[in-house]
Symmetry: C2
Subunit: 256 residues, 2 copies
């Protein structure tokens, strides 16, 4: 439904870790990357959460790197035996895997002599030819191979490292987003909304129900690359909700 | 690494919705289902978040239903034009799609005469032969086709409906889980942990770093079907951490 003259730049995210699937840890990286990428004009189009097994990681990497412009992975690059992301990336690309001298130098510089354990040095292993991603928080770097960016799972560190790779990403036009909220329930607005979506083909109209102040309602979210087209759809949606007895409230931003 | 004599029952989750990918809405269903399924002896092994497009939904359903014992979908079964999950499930199974008389009766019974809009009746459309899943909160049902269970995205409603399908699920042995936490950093414990994992092949040992009270540390999580085997590994991990100068704390539960 997007403007067919504009190329849409896409991305996928692979969240690696049994602890996310077991419910033990809640992922906080998808929402962050979804919003940040959108601000760069890159659309997070799919995310997968996979277990800490080579087949699962390698399979997801190869499926998604062929399908999307960018792939990001989070998790599994620490110093312990269950951190196997880096070697799986090498396997996915068919690249040799081994000690990266630049990464090793960073770690040897950071840790005191006696603290440079073999476990820590595992974090200096990368696929051959990988471009490092600097880690301003805890030093152990991530890396990039072709269109795949390998990041840690800890949100604070991942976010700091994402700041360092923004400039490597070439986006398209960011989507603008407007929200029209009202207490008109979806069951009432649904029919008219279908017609409005058809009348505004270069916008994406989504409806997200809520229950607030004891009453049902919905946030109607209008997204488009062209702000004028978004605004035209917003006006029509607001008029429609008003005609159904609602008191629509319009909120908007250029970066969500 | 699990006991090879025991069948592991697996599940995948498909989270449907642009709003999750854009970062606008945070998913709350994966963590819930991961924990609940584990308590039933079913292992959530993969999750995918896909956009509201037929290709994305249909592709994920067909890939995952062939690969896992159970597939759950959340989202996209409301009354608006962007709710397309149900028809995509029909498409994925090659089934006719249309009004389900039982679901229609439920909705007509719930809504007052004038409130039975065409949009609301969309929620009574299912693939032919689908088994309904009762919705005790807002009535519009989900449904099951073979090993695929179609649930709503709103966590409160999804959880209430999951309660109604528990008895349809046949699990295996639930995993027990124990956590050993200490301020021994992963970089110190990593080497010994690799050996302990090798010595306890019927357990899964995961290490999750934290930064607490100004100091790094890690939660070492030991999971196994056999509680005695988990406990033996816990003891070895605790002894190892003690030998490295840590003061390990052991926590355990049978259902996470």
């Amino acid at each position: 439904m997007s403007d067919s003259t504009l190329k849409i730049v896409t991305a996928a995210l692979i969240i690696i870790g049994n602890e996310i699937l077991s419910g033990r840890t809640k992922d906080a990286n998808m929402a962050y990357l979804g919003a940040e990428l959108n601000a760069l004009g890159i659309r997070l189009t799919e995310a997968r959460v996979v277990a800490d097994t080579p087949d699962a990681i390698c399979g997801a990497v190869n499926a998604l790197r062929a399908q999307y412009d960018y792939v990001f992975t989070t998790g599994g690059i620490g110093p312990t035996h269950d951190d196997i992301t880096s070697e799986c990336i090498a396997q996915a690309f068919g690249l040799p895997f081994g000690r990266n001298p630049e990464a090793e130098a960073v770690l040897r510089d950071y840790y005191a002599e006696g603290e440079v354990t073999e476990a820590r040095l595992r974090m200096a292993n990368t696929p051959e030819g990988a471009i490092l991603i600097e880690n301003p928080v805890s030093k152990a770097p991530g890396f990039q191979v072709e269109n795949v960016f390998v990041l840690p799972g800890v949100p604070r560190i991942m976010q700091a490292m994402f700041g360092g790779i923004r400039h490597r990403l070439v986006g398209g036009q960011p989507m603008v987003s407007r929200t029209v909220s009202s207490h008109v329930p979806e069951g009432q607005a649904g029919g008219p909304l279908t017609e409005l979506q058809a009348r505004h083909p270069d916008t994406e109209i989504g409806s997200y129900p809520f229950f607030r102040d004891g009453k049902p309602g919905a946030n109607i979210v209008i997204r488009a690359v062209d702000a004028a087209k978004a605004d035209a759809a917003v006006q029509d949606v607001a008029d429609m909700l008003t005609s159904l007895g609602g008191k629509p409230i319009i909120e908007g931003s250029a970066d969500v």
